[in-house]
């Protein structure tokens, strides 16, 4: 306090002004050709830095693409992940199972990045506790489910088809009921997986008004 009260001998420029002059200086350095480093060194250094940056980016992206990461939040662990555990996508005779990103993150790179950018809203929701209690989650479940159904509908259930291909589906091995339905609706392209197979991995919200439901 006393320092502020006593008038300084030389007036120190403010923080904003100092930052601005630093930026101007940096810009001056960046637009001038290098007089110290050879062009080859600069190119190689840029290349190496690029590899490190891209590798780091991709690694970080893949870390957020694991079930461990998803279930590190109680919102996911206690609600949707707990519900998944009793379904065939978690426990079945052959032990092959789907983890969260298998269904909820597109595998294709551009779509994946688009989805990851959307997910920044989910980070916001996490920070401000949009669904941090079971009650809040149940209130939001309908809206959240609508988003996922819309995404599956729009990409023709791509995340289902990453594993369940219609070409490899042998309907003679299915129950008669399933065989008839797949022949009529799936193979003709009249419907896509999500149209009939809602609520196969998580509990359903109130389904009144959803086509095909009561």
């Amino acid at each position: 306090m006393s320092e502020l009260e006593s008038p300084p001998e030389k007036k120190r420029p403010g923080l904003f002004r100092r930052a601005w002059s630093f930026l101007l200086e940096l810009w001056g350095v960046l637009i001038r050709p290098s007089s110290v480093f050879a062009l080859g060194v600069l190119v190689l250094a840029g290349f190496v830095a690029g590899i490190i940056f891209w590798g780091g980016f991709n690694t970080a992206l893949e870390v957020t693409n694991t079930e461990k990461f998803c279930t590190s939040c109680h919102e996911m662990r206690d609600n949707v992940f707990a519900e998944l555990k009793s379904t065939i996508h978690f426990s079945n005779r052959s032990g092959v199972r789907a983890s969260c990103p298998d269904c909820h993150v597109p595998h294709n790179w551009t779509d994946k990045i688009a989805r990851k950018m959307q997910a920044s809203q989910e980070v916001w929701g996490k920070l401000f506790g949009y669904i941090n209690t079971r009650e809040k989650f149940l209130d939001k479940r309908f809206e959240l489910a609508l988003h996922e159904w819309a995404r599956f509908k729009a990409n023709d259930s791509l995340e289902c088809r990453n594993c369940h291909s219609a070409q490899s589906m042998d309907i003679t091995k299915q129950s008669p009921r399933a065989a008839v339905a797949h022949e009529r609706f799936l193979f003709t392209g009249e419907k896509t997986c999500i149209d009939c197979h809602k609520g196969i991995a998580h509990h359903l919200p109130d389904m009144r008004g959803i086509p095909g439901w009561q």
Binding site: S175, P176, G199, I200, H203, L204, D206, M207, G212, Q214
Partner: protein
């Protein structure tokens, strides 16, 4: 003195009784050789019958059994998976049998527009069938067989 003797006698009788019970191996068709106070190994779970072919009812009032697997079907306040095929409006697409009109009745016998809440929970009456061999055979005789017999109520 007499009381003491009686207690002693009773104690020996109980001890002897439990001794013989434990030593005796009872064989039962259902339990196998497992002693009565033990829990035997659980029998293997059998798959559900999944033919999707209707089965005859044993008597007219019998709730028809479900001839297909219903694993993972959600039937609760939020949704009813059965109705997404068996509801009146869904049967054209699904070709499944429609929920009986009796299910639209409330308890005063008034017909509602849709399935009555008291008939909403399908699996209270309708059940899927396991392919297990029943350990005890069923000698139920339905009314048609009964009526077609020469002497009703006679030899079974």
């Amino acid at each position: 003195m007499i009381r003491k003797a009686v207690i002693l006698l009773l104690a020996t009788a109980i001890a002897a009784g439990t001794g013989t019970l434990a030593a005796q191996t009872l064989y039962s068709g259902l339990r196998g050789p497992t002693p009565l106070n033990d829990e035997g190994p659980a029998p293997p779970m059998t798959p559900m019958r999944n033919t999707a072919e209707r089965e005859a009812r044993n008597y007219p009032e019998q709730p028809p059994v479900i001839p297909h697997s219903i694993d993972g079907y959600q039937i609760d306040l939020q949704s009813n998976k059965c109705l997404s095929c068996h509801a009146r409006s869904r049967t054209a697409e699904s070709q499944a049998p429609m929920v009986s009109i009796t299910h639209f009745m409330d308890r005063d016998g008034q017909f509602l527009a849709a399935v009555s809440p008291r008939r909403f929970f399908c699996t209270e009456c309708h059940v899927p069938q396991s392919v297990a061999n029943p350990p005890v055979s069923n000698d139920f005789v339905d009314i048609d067989t009964m009526l077609s017999r020469a002497t009703p109520g006679g030899r079974r």
